[in-house]
């Protein structure tokens, strides 16, 4: 325990703690919309594309954010658009795009001899959180929070029934664009910490967990954020104690919470 507290004296731990919690909360809040709209696979697809873009960036020797941010934003919008237009084709599109992107990323980084950085991208690292990342995560969470407060009723309606929203004359494409951009930013910033392989879990798991005990959209959003925060802190502790990558610790704690909630819900229903 005192070992853990001692860790708090390291600035990189504090940075990881703050940036990671904020990004986890943003991820899960957006995850509520993605899960309810059956876009659960999007995070997965985007992170593979993010991985490919990181490899490209390091091969070209340019800052990663310059390439991965626009690439993932565009991919995010295209995937959501395709999923909505051609219901089932969406799944297939994501599966194809993500495996192709992963293969491309691996090829590029092995050609350029950057296999060590490949590992860092795939598994993430808390050491990777810079001051810039920290500031970015604060800005991102303020933006996400503000958008959720101002556009709450619109997001509610569009998540529930996009066609009805359109029949009321609401510009649904605009909101879809907002959700795509935010999801992309969460993926790009989150994958540095949890790794590209695991960021989609951080987006989806808390929403799925909260869906078991929230009966309103609003409570679902708040609960998902809370679950995600707790799971992130717990996951970080697990990762320090067992000396495993942070992303793995976070997903393990998220999964444990989900299993616990499922069992609890089952027992409660039996009574």
């Amino acid at each position: 325990m005192s070992d853990l507290l001692a860790l708090l004296s390291y600035p990189f731990v504090i940075r990881a703690l703050v940036a990671g919690s904020l990004i986890s909360i943003c991820a899960s809040v957006l995850g509520v919309i993605l899960v309810l709209k059956h876009y659960s696979l999007i995070g997965h697809g985007l992170s593979e594309i993010g991985f490919a873009s990181l490899s490209v960036a390091s091969a070209l020797n340019v800052p990663a954010v310059l390439i991965s941010t626009p690439a993932v934003i565009i991919a995010s919008f295209v995937i959501m658009f395709v999923s909505q237009k051609f219901k089932t084709a969406g799944d297939i599109a994501i599966a194809i795009a993500s495996s192709a992107a992963l293969a491309l990323g691996i090829s590029i980084s092995s050609l350029t001899g950057g296999t060590s950085s490949t590992g860092a991208y795939l598994f993430g690292s808390v050491l990777a959180v810079s001051d810039g990342d920290l500031i970015f995560s604060v800005i991102l969470s303020v933006v996400v929070l503000t958008i959720f407060i101002i556009f709450y009723n619109r997001l509610f309606l569009i998540t529930y029934n996009e066609n009805y929203a359109r029949s009321l004359g609401i510009n649904t494409t605009f909101y879809q664009l907002i959700i795509s951009v935010l999801t992309a930013l969460v993926v790009v910033s989150g994958m540095r910490i949890t790794g590209t392989l695991l960021i989609s879990g951080v987006i989806i798991l808390p929403a799925v967990t909260a869906k078991n005990f929230a009966s309103r959209f609003k409570t679902l959003v708040i609960m998902a954020g809370a679950v995600s925060f707790v799971a992130f802190i717990a996951g970080l502790v697990i990762s320090f104690v067992f000396n495993i990558p942070a992303g793995a610790g976070v997903i393990l704690s998220n999964s444990a919470i989900l299993i616990f909630v499922k069992i609890f819900a089952r027992l409660k229903n039996k009574k």
Partner: protein, 209 residues
């Protein structure tokens, strides 16, 4: 008459390559009731979706009132959505260019829920409603938009006798207030229920006289 709520000229609507509505024209004024009938698969719902702006016209022109409310034949949204009846009904007011519900919106929603006898269900989750209760929720949502053009695609399917009567009373009221109503129905007694209504029979993508 200048009070045209819907003007559809030579509309063509198709899915991929199949033309469903072919060169159809239709005009509806405020206070008018138009019933749309026709066999299953004749294109009634397609026409309604086109008027609602959910399907593009491949040819022709559509001008209509911006204050339109649409009740689809089948709500394509997931029932397993975490929301209560009041929240769904309130979404009908979102046409106005504002982001938050006002006190007026809440009062309007309450009034309409009372009229349709779903006020007792206001805080119930939508996933626990019966089919007929849910239909009344969607009618209430449409009325909450204070439309002057109301599109109803088989709104009576699944309604009990009492709800059916209530719906027609509400419709008469809306018509008297200058709202135009277009309703898809298979039931002749619906048509007899409103006097001076137009009946439009669709067949082969056109209006059969």
């Amino acid at each position: 008459m200048t009070d045209i709520k819907l003007n559809l000229e030579n509309a063509v609507i198709k899915y991929e390559d199949t033309i469903v509505i072919n060169d159809l024209s239709l005009q509806v004024h405020g206070g008018e009731m138009a019933f749309i009938t026709g066999a299953n698969g004749s294109g009634k719902s397609t026409l309604m979706r086109g008027i609602a702006g959910l399907l593009p016209l491949s040819a022709g022109r559509l001008t209509r009132s911006a204050k339109m409310s649409y009740v689809p034949q089948i709500e394509e949204a997931d029932r397993d959505f975490p929301a209560c009846v009041r929240e769904i009904v309130l979404t009908g007011t979102q046409r106005k260019k504002k982001f938050f519900y006002t006190r007026c919106d809440y009062e309007l929603a309450n009034k309409i829920m009372k009229e349709l006898f779903i006020y007792e269900l206001a805080n119930r989750e939508i996933k626990n409603l019966s089919g007929g209760q849910l239909r009344r929720v969607f009618l209430a949502r449409a009325l909450c938009g204070e439309p002057d053009l109301l599109l109803l695609d088989e709104p009576c399917a699944g309604l009990d006798v009492e709800s059916h009567k209530i719906l027609f009373r509400i419709l008469e009221n809306e018509l008297a207030n200058g709202c135009a109503v277009i309703m898809v129905t298979h039931d002749d007694s619906d048509i007899e229920g409103i006097k001076d209504s137009h009946v439009i029979k669709i067949s082969d993508g056109r209006i059969k006289i």
